[in-house]
């Protein structure tokens, strides 16, 4: 198990090095990056929208329930919800979902290309396939993930507000008071850092699993599963590390 982990880590690092080479044609990389931005960003809007709306709603309802019978002022719900969503819920939950949706897609796409000899065809032409197939995905992930996370945070807070008002858990004034109290821009900075790290993790780890897929449909399915599982584990581990380093 440990030997296997060391093997994968070593191969991943060597593989990463080959990504960073001069593009054969800058325009082709640019075109591919735009395509990936569309895939990762626009293609994930729906799922991010659904997930973030429910996150905000559930957090608002549960906070109201937990603080309801206490002496804690009601505006605290808005304050806690805002920081919970910004610091952890929006980046972490959104990226766990993206790792499932985008990560499995990346692993299947690159793995399929490997199995159908598309990667060999590009290699024979002289294309640096690690760079051409992976770098645009990582760049797109680094650009689009923070945008999706910001959107998720906004929608999460908004949906929490709406659900709580509709459900009569607190008033609009109480919620707005909470939202504007103890605001610290540093929390948004943490959110952006998290989304950048997670975006890098799920794109590169998924591409790695697709790139080294073994022949056969079972192996392709396993590559997709591994991409999601390892991305999720690494996201959670780095969540803890970032939390410790930035807020500890």
């Amino acid at each position: 198990m440990i030997r296997k982990m060391i093997f994968h880590f070593g191969r991943y690092m060597i593989w990463l090095r080959s990504i960073l080479s001069k593009p054969e044609k800058f325009f082709m990389y640019y075109k591919e990056t735009i395509r990936q931005m569309d895939d990762i960003g626009i293609g994930s809007l729906k799922i991010v929208l659904i997930v973030s709306i429910f996150i905000g709603a559930v957090v608002a309802v549960q906070l109201s329930y937990q603080l309801g019978e206490t002496l804690v002022p009601k505006w605290y719900v808005g304050y806690i919800l805002r920081d919970m969503v910004i610091i952890d819920m929006a980046p972490t939950i959104t990226c766990l979902v993206l790792a499932g949706k985008v990560g499995s897609n990346i692993a299947a796409e690159i793995g399929g290309m490997r199995q159908k000899e598309h990667i060999d065809a590009m290699e024979v032409m002289g294309v640096n396939t690690t760079s051409y197939l992976v770098l645009p995905k990582i760049i797109a992930g680094l650009f689009m993930t923070p945008l999706l996370v910001i959107l998720a945070a906004g929608l999460g807070i908004g949906s929490g507000y709406l659900i709580a008002i509709i459900g009569g858990y607190f008033t609009a004034a109480e919620f707005l008071q909470g939202l504007t109290t103890y605001y610290d821009a540093y929390n948004v900075f943490i959110m952006i850092i998290k989304s950048l790290v997670y975006g890098y993790i799920f794109t590169s780890v998924s591409a790695y699993h697709g790139y080294f897929v073994k022949p056969g449909s079972i192996a392709l399915g396993r590559a997709g599963t591994d991409a999601v599982v390892y991305s999720n584990i690494l996201i959670l581990v780095s969540d803890y590390i970032i939390a410790t380093v930035m807020t500890g």
């Binding site: 054969e24 082709m28 159908k116 598309h118 060999d120 024979v124 002289g126």
Partner: protein
């Protein structure tokens, strides 16, 4: 000309290729034949640079490929074209985009020049008017032809074909064979074909290398096959009772 010099290849303890020493000649259709598992695909992948041999050298004319660094190898790749067994056309691209891809990646041709070259290549493989179709909309034979068009778009000096006839009916297979042979002569290329299609062997086998369990079993021209005393070659080429009967009758007639 491509020269394989004393090529050995093994995966762990499993020996795949053992002392392959052979010259693939220019303007000829050079065939690598042999049973499944004989090492044909591994040899082809070594020749094209997708695999490293355990020992030995591959020479493209005066260039020793083993002594090249990554950048020089990529440079050399521009003079190589390859047709894959499953055509390896990119699904998300149209026929035209597939053929343009090497030009988009490596040349500074204008859009008009690229379009003209695509049209020329499609015309050469007799597939006019399919520019906007996607690979999934084409038959297997048409996909192979698009694969050939993409392989020759940068006017390569060396063409490799991995099982160009697999999955094709005999008539279409002959069309593909003839096309490869004609292009080899027209474009002055060294063509290496990996096949186990006996029709291809008898049709376009200018220079044949027969592999048996990773070793060179027999080499020669298609015309030498009938007269050969090599039992393995005879058993391999005339594997079916029908072909064996035909051969025997032909000899009785003589």
């Amino acid at each position: 000309m491509i020269r394989a010099k004393k090529i050995f290849k093994s995966f762990g303890d499993l020996k795949i290729l053992d002392d392959i020493d052979f010259t693939f000649e220019r303007r000829k259709t050079n065939l690598i034949i042999g049973q499944s598992g004989a090492g044909k695909t591994v040899l082809l992948k070594i020749l094209v640079g997708l695999l490293e041999p355990s020992s030995g050298e591959v020479w493209y004319d005066q260039t020793n490929c083993m002594s090249l660094n990554k950048k020089e190898r990529r440079q050399l790749s521009m003079s190589v074209g390859m047709l894959f067994q499953g055509s390896a056309l990119f699904d998300s691209m149209s026929v035209e985009e597939n053929i343009r891809f090497p030009m988009d990646m490596f040349t500074n041709f204008t859009d008009g020049e690229k379009r003209a070259r695509v049209d020329y290549c499609l015309n050469r493989v007799e597939l006019n008017g399919v520019n906007d179709k996607y690979p999934s909309e084409l038959s297997g034979g048409m996909q192979k032809r698009v694969g050939i068009a993409r392989a020759i778009v940068l006017k390569p000096k060396y063409l490799f074909c991995d099982e160009p006839n697999s999955g094709l009916d005999p008539k279409t297979a002959i069309v593909i064979d003839d096309l490869i042979k004609d292009i080899t002569i027209e474009e002055d290329m060294t063509t290496v074909i990996n096949t186990h299609d006996m029709n291809s062997v008898m049709e376009i086998g200018d220079n044949i290398l027969l592999l048996n369990k990773g070793k060179m079993e027999w080499t020669g021209h298609k015309d030498e096959i009938l007269a050969s005393q090599n039992q393995f070659l005879t058993d391999f080429i005339f594997a079916s009772p029908f072909l064996k009967q035909l051969k025997d009758r032909a000899f009785q007639g003589i």
